[in-house]
């Protein structure tokens, strides 16, 4: 273990904070992949069509008519 004044550096050369930063750098890729997979699954089960059906009509609740 190497110690400097502020941080404890592990044997692979990274501080815990740097490791967290690196994990965050790739977390978005994983979440994006899950999102894309869910979008594909949703399209396959007809969700996009349902959304289109709702969005192509006036939403009376949304505009305050009820």
């Amino acid at each position: 273990m190497i110690r400097d004044e502020k941080h404890t550096i592990s044997n692979d050369g990274d501080t815990p904070r740097v490791k967290r930063g690196k994990a965050r750098s790739f977390a978005w890729v994983l979440v994006l992949a899950i999102g894309v997979a869910l979008i594909a699954l949703g399209i396959a089960q007809g969700d996009m069509l349902d959304t289109w059906r709702k969005a192509s009509l006036i939403c009376y609740e949304c505009i305050g008519i009820g």
Binding site: S25, W28, G35, T51, I65
Partner: protein, 304 residues
């Protein structure tokens, strides 16, 4: 000057986004809701699909509709869109690509022009900012609860709170005698809510984004790790707090769940410790810049 250029660039992008969300010119001309194929695509910001010019679907409206559908299918498509937008952008959408955020920014400028006293952020506003999580819970639970009780799902957020829908409603009702004949107390309530938000936005910075927006609440969960965000160089940061002080949102640190990635913190940092995650300087190892307490800069090359 740099701050002015940043704000001008931001408002230009916001205006462009607002125009991109409303490309249905025929709908705008005829004040009718379009039926193009693109209405099935969720846009990242808060924009009512009943707006005459809207070419996409509001993700919050679509989420409520999916949750309230009697078929009780899991809303994979809308949730997938929200995850994808959140993972890529987080609350950068709030700061750069939301039409209603743009409207509030313009109202903020109008308030300055009219010399309306501004309410500064405080511990109270930070506590109040958690209200939007209750609104988010309403978005999710409301349609399910009304479906269970009445057998008919009601998008409670859209019905009683959303100001974007009210703007669309005012545009449609003002030109349609048929709709004018059937407006009632709900329209009066929604108009009052919209008016309150408009007035508040002239005295309080982005009140809807900070206290009520469920989409901002949702995207906030992604802010710490999304692809596009401001990051702090921990080696250069002296914890002076200038970034938090300069921020007009209720942040505790840069890129926390309240940050809309507007960049005001970057401009305020004397040490250059804040950078955008995809800025050119992030492509190579940047030199660590450290400030001592007097604000003088020392440049240290980070070598191996």
């Amino acid at each position: 000057m740099k701050k002015f250029l940043l704000r001008t660039k931001c408002h230009f992008v916001q205006l462009l986004a607002a125009l991109l969300y409303n490309l249905d010119f025929q709908g705008i001309a005829t004040l009718s809701v379009g039926k193009s194929v693109t209405k099935g695509v969720c846009v990242p910001g808060l924009h009512c699909y009943s707006c005459p010019g809207a070419i996409g679907a509001c993700p919050i409206g679509a989420l409520q509709q999916s949750l309230g559908a009697s078929s009780l299918k899991l809303p994979f498509y809308v949730v997938g869109c929200l995850l994808a937008f959140g993972a890529l952008f987080g609350r950068t959408i709030c700061g750069w690509a939301c039409p209603f955020g743009f409207i509030q920014d313009m109202l903020d400028k109008l308030g300055r022009f009219l010399r309306i006293p501004k309410m500064r952020k405080s511990a109270f506003t930070r506590k109040l900012s958690y209200l939007k999580y209750a609104v988010l819970a309403l978005v999710v639970i409301g349609p399910l609860a009304t479906l269970a009780i009445d057998g008919v799902a009601s998008p409670l957020f859209c019905t009683y709170i959303c100001p974007a829908g009210t703007i669309a409603g005012v545009a449609l009702v003002s030109t349609s005698p048929d709709l004018q004949a059937i407006v009632g107390a709900l329209f009066t309530w929604k108009t009052a809510v919209l008016a309150a938000i408009v007035i508040a936005a002239m005295a309080i910075y982005r009140p809807f984004c900070r206290f009520l927006c469920p989409l901002g609440a949702l995207y906030g969960f992604f802010n710490r790790f999304c692809a596009l965000r401001y990051v702090v160089d921990e080696n250069a940061c002296t914890n002076c707090g200038a970034c938090v002080e300069a921020c007009r949102m209720d942040v505790a640190r840069v890129s926390d769940h309240e940050c809309i990635q507007c960049g005001a913190c970057k401009e305020s940092c004397a040490c250059g410790a804040i950078r955008f995650s995809v800025s050119r300087s992030s492509l190579k190892q940047p030199p660590a810049i450290a400030c001592d307490n007097s604000g003088q800069e020392e440049v240290q090359k980070k070598g191996k």
